[in-house]
């Protein structure tokens, strides 16, 4: 009987009062109130059932003397009965209260009452108030109320959907048989039924319904409830219905974006392909083809970036989302598509166009050139004192973050190509990790980066290296380094380990020894999976660097 204390008396009284209140009036407000409380009520009923299932009926009545009243009132409230799993819990509770050996007339009466309540719920005795003949007719055919109601619900949904669609012909709004108020009421009454599969066509018809007024016709509780259920994956809706939902109800869109974000941050994804999968699964990239939605989602990502101070994980998410979005946009064959650059209206258009070219769409020989082109434009924007404000600088940097794969390419080019443009690439990397307003700061970071790079390049062709050699190259004299510079240096080091002849031999050791010791597993992991993703997408398989990356990733996953 340890379950006894699980249901405090206070909440029982609360719910009983609520049940009485709901039974007394049928105003719109009271019905909205019921809908608001349905999830909590279901939890409460579950708790009651957990307590009841270990008791016999007499003990149950002693423990919860008013339970008959509560259950009785709730069973007559179609909102409660229609919601999710509440009807099952109600019936289970009633079963627990039925006594198998009634000792006195009171118990007999209680049994009889329980049976009539169950018959009411299952319609096995009376068949609707005004349809006396229906029950006899259906029984004469040899069917049960189960068959009847299963078809009836589908038919009612069909007729409601026909009405809703009938109001809209060729996109025009004909004053049909349905008024906007009626639609509002229908949407409210659908709230408990959202997870009932028979009702899904009605949900879709409601979501794509546009009334005559400019205000929202559907009840906001309905829109919220549909969004919640969709995010929890308890219901499957068509893409156009979801798009319609997000377009007409801003809080739902925001919730959906934050939900995606949380999923990505909290799940232990081991590859960027998985991340892309989760992103596509959320339907947001496709929805973002609508510019209004793209703007909102972008804002949310921007805030996330600001709040986390430019965390590399967030930057990766933004890049993967942008990639999925661009792919969805290209697949979209609607006639009136916006061009991609229209999604970034306040930015320098040539820069946008340059950044929209993904490295995978260019041949590797053109990468250096393209990087220089991008960097020159960025430099021009940054250093043009006349129009530059802090906001502009931030916006340019945020734009670049969307397409941060180019920063990875820059790091790779620094180590692999014999180019004389190492200055350009270093500048770009420095900009990516620390877009400072202050020219002095920028120069200082560049100088440090340059120093590390030069030392690394000296070790580049050595075939035998030790961990200490590398550490020495990477360390600084003062040991007081900005965090952003540390990110940059780490990126250079990882690239060095992958692409130099001596580096790959000590890669494993270096990583476990030095990097893990400084508690930067996530960052290193992030850099490695980005590299792995890039190699996969480019179809590179047998190169030494590719194998190296996969081995390192294996090790890291193992030790996690």
């Amino acid at each position: 009987m340890a379950q006894d204390t699980a249901v405090p008396k206070l909440s029982f009284q609360y719910w009983l009062n609520k049940a009485v209140e709901w039974g007394q009036t049928t105003t719109l407000e009271s019905q909205q109130d019921v809908c608001l409380h349905l999830p909590k009520l279901q939890e409460f009923l579950q708790q009651i059932y957990e307590s009841l299932k270990h008791m016999n009926s007499t003990t149950a009545i002693q423990r919860f003397p008013l339970i008959g009243q509560l259950l009785g009132r709730l069973c007559w409230n179609p909102f409660v009965v229609g919601y999710d799993e509440s009807q099952k819990t109600l019936m289970w509770c009633l079963c627990c209260l039925y006594s198998k050996e009634p000792q006195n007339p009171v118990e007999l009466k209680a049994n009889s009452w329980i049976l009539s309540l169950l018959c009411h719920l299952l319609s096995s005795s009376e068949w609707g108030a005004n349809k006396v003949g229906t029950g006899t007719f259906i029984s004469a055919l040899g069917y049960t109320s189960a068959d009847y109601y299963s078809k009836l619900v589908k038919n009612i949904v069909l007729s409601l959907v026909t009405e809703l669609k009938g109001n809209q012909f060729n996109g025009l709004n004909i004053q049909g048989r349905v008024s906007d108020d009626h639609v509002n009421v229908v949407s409210l009454f659908c709230i408990p039924l959202i997870t009932l599969p028979d009702v899904t066509p009605l949900l879709e018809a409601l979501l794509t319904y546009h009334g005559g007024r400019s205000q929202e016709v559907l009840s906001s509780e309905f829109l919220e409830a549909v969004n919640e259920t969709f995010l929890k994956k308890k219901i499957a809706l068509s893409e156009s219905a979801i798009l319609s939902l997000w377009l007409r109800h801003l809080p739902s869109l925001e919730k959906a974006t934050l939900h995606l974000f949380e999923r990505l941050i909290s799940s232990q994804t081991s590859s960027l392909e998985e991340v892309a999968c989760i992103i596509k699964d959320s339907l947001l990239p496709k929805a973002a083809c609508h510019p209004a939605i793209f703007r909102i989602v972008d804002e949310i990502f921007k805030n996330a970036l600001l709040e986390t101070g430019g965390a590399p994980e967030v930057m990766t998410i933004i890049q993967m989302f942008t990639r999925c979005f661009v792919q969805a946009h290209q697949k979209d064959n609607k006639q009136h598509k916006f061009p991609l650059k229209a999604y970034f209206p306040h930015q320098h258009q040539p820069l946008v166009i340059a950044l929209l070219k993904h490295p995978f769409d260019l041949s590797a020989t053109l990468w250096s050139q393209h990087l220089k082109y991008i960097t020159d434009m960025l430099k021009a924007i940054i250093e043009d004192k006349s129009i530059r404000t802090y906001a502009d600088l931030f916006e340019s940097w945020f734009l670049f973050v969307h397409f941060g794969e180019w920063a990875d390419i820059a790091a790779e080019q620094l180590l692999k190509s014999e180019d004389e443009s190492s200055d350009t690439f270093l500048w770009l990397l420095a900009f990516y990790y620390s877009p400072h307003n202050d020219k002095e700061k920028r120069t200082q970071i560049l100088v440090e980066a340059r120093a590390v790079y030069d030392r690394l390049m000296m070790l580049f062709s050595c075939t035998t290296l030790s961990v200490t050699d590398l550490q020495a190259a990477a360390s600084t004299k003062t040991d007081k380094r900005q965090p952003c510079t540390k990110h940059l240096v780490r990126h250079l080091l990882i690239s060095f380990l992958l692409f130099s002849s001596g580096g790959h031999k000590i890669a494993q050791e270096f990583i476990s020894h030095v990097i893990l010791a400084s508690n930067t597993t996530n960052e290193v992991f992030g850099l490695l999976i980005r590299t792995a993703y890039r190699f996969n997408q480019l179809g590179l398989k047998n190169q030494r660097a590719v194998k190296q990356v996969n081995e390192l990733l294996q090790e890291l996953r193992f030790t996690d």
Partner: protein, 359 residues
Amino acid sequence: METLLWQVEQLPGLLAVSRSGQVRDWDPPTLDRALQWGRYFQHLHGRFRAQPRLRAALGQRLRRGQPGPPLGFGHLGRCPELLGLALLGNRALPPAACHRLLRSLLLPPSGQATPGPCSLGLLARRRAAVQLLPPPPSSAPARPEELEPPLRTEAQLLLSRLQEDEEGQGPEGVLEKLPGPRVYRVLAALLLLEQAGDNAGREGASWAEHREGAGPAAAVLSWLLGDPGRLSAFCRLLPGSLLVALSARYPQLGTSYLRLLTSWGNRLRFDPLRGQWVSSRCLSEDELSWEELRERFRCFMRGPAQLREAALASLKNLKTQDGDFEVCGLSVWTDLLLEIALTRNLLSSSPHLLCLCQL
């Protein structure tokens, strides 16, 4: 095989008992056995569904059972629900057995998170849904072809019941056992439904070329047309507009309906004192008043061209047979034609009176 047939023959008896007072002697083990039988029958249904011969044999045996609603093979599949719900509603069941029934029917088996037979939970949910979802705002459908959900549901169930019947059975077995006037409304709904399904793939070919006797609609129609009393009750009960809609799709019905209207019309006598056509005795099932007759013909005038022409031709014919009078009061058909022509003249001269006349 013989054991199987013998077992199946017990089902009607079992169902009858489950609804009767005989259950008051049941104890929990008896109840368990009954429920087990239910599950066993469902299992049989699943096994033999795809074997027509066995299905027919089992169906035949079922029909041999006690009087009551005639059962078919399909009932085997629905056995657990039929039994369970019947027992639940039976107040004669003693508490101990009832307790066992509740546990097996509604509660999840111990140790399992989701219960097996909680399709009953779904039933409760759907019933609540029906109470929640509001009916369409206009109480009468705009066109007679649009069926209200409850009527449509009954028609669908009747249709699937008829389709469940094995070959050569015919609808009489089922239809004759159905209660009174309601069956006609449901049949009308069924005929409308079936036609709607037909339209999908048959443009061009005439109705006569189609499936002879195949499909429940044809069987139902011949059942209706086969007995004049039945046809008369059918046409008497349903509104004229619905009958015209049906006649448009089922020409045999149209012909028979017109013939019926003729016989009803012939029973009217002119009362010179009152100056109107009245029925010779008080209105019974078989009689139609003048106003109703006129209204019914007016429905024909509002129908498709083919029916309009047929009705007009029929009326003209009858008028000729009666003596081709042009004066009122001598032949009911003359008077009808005059009324109709009057309406049509009004219609053609002032189209907005159309709405008035459709009242």
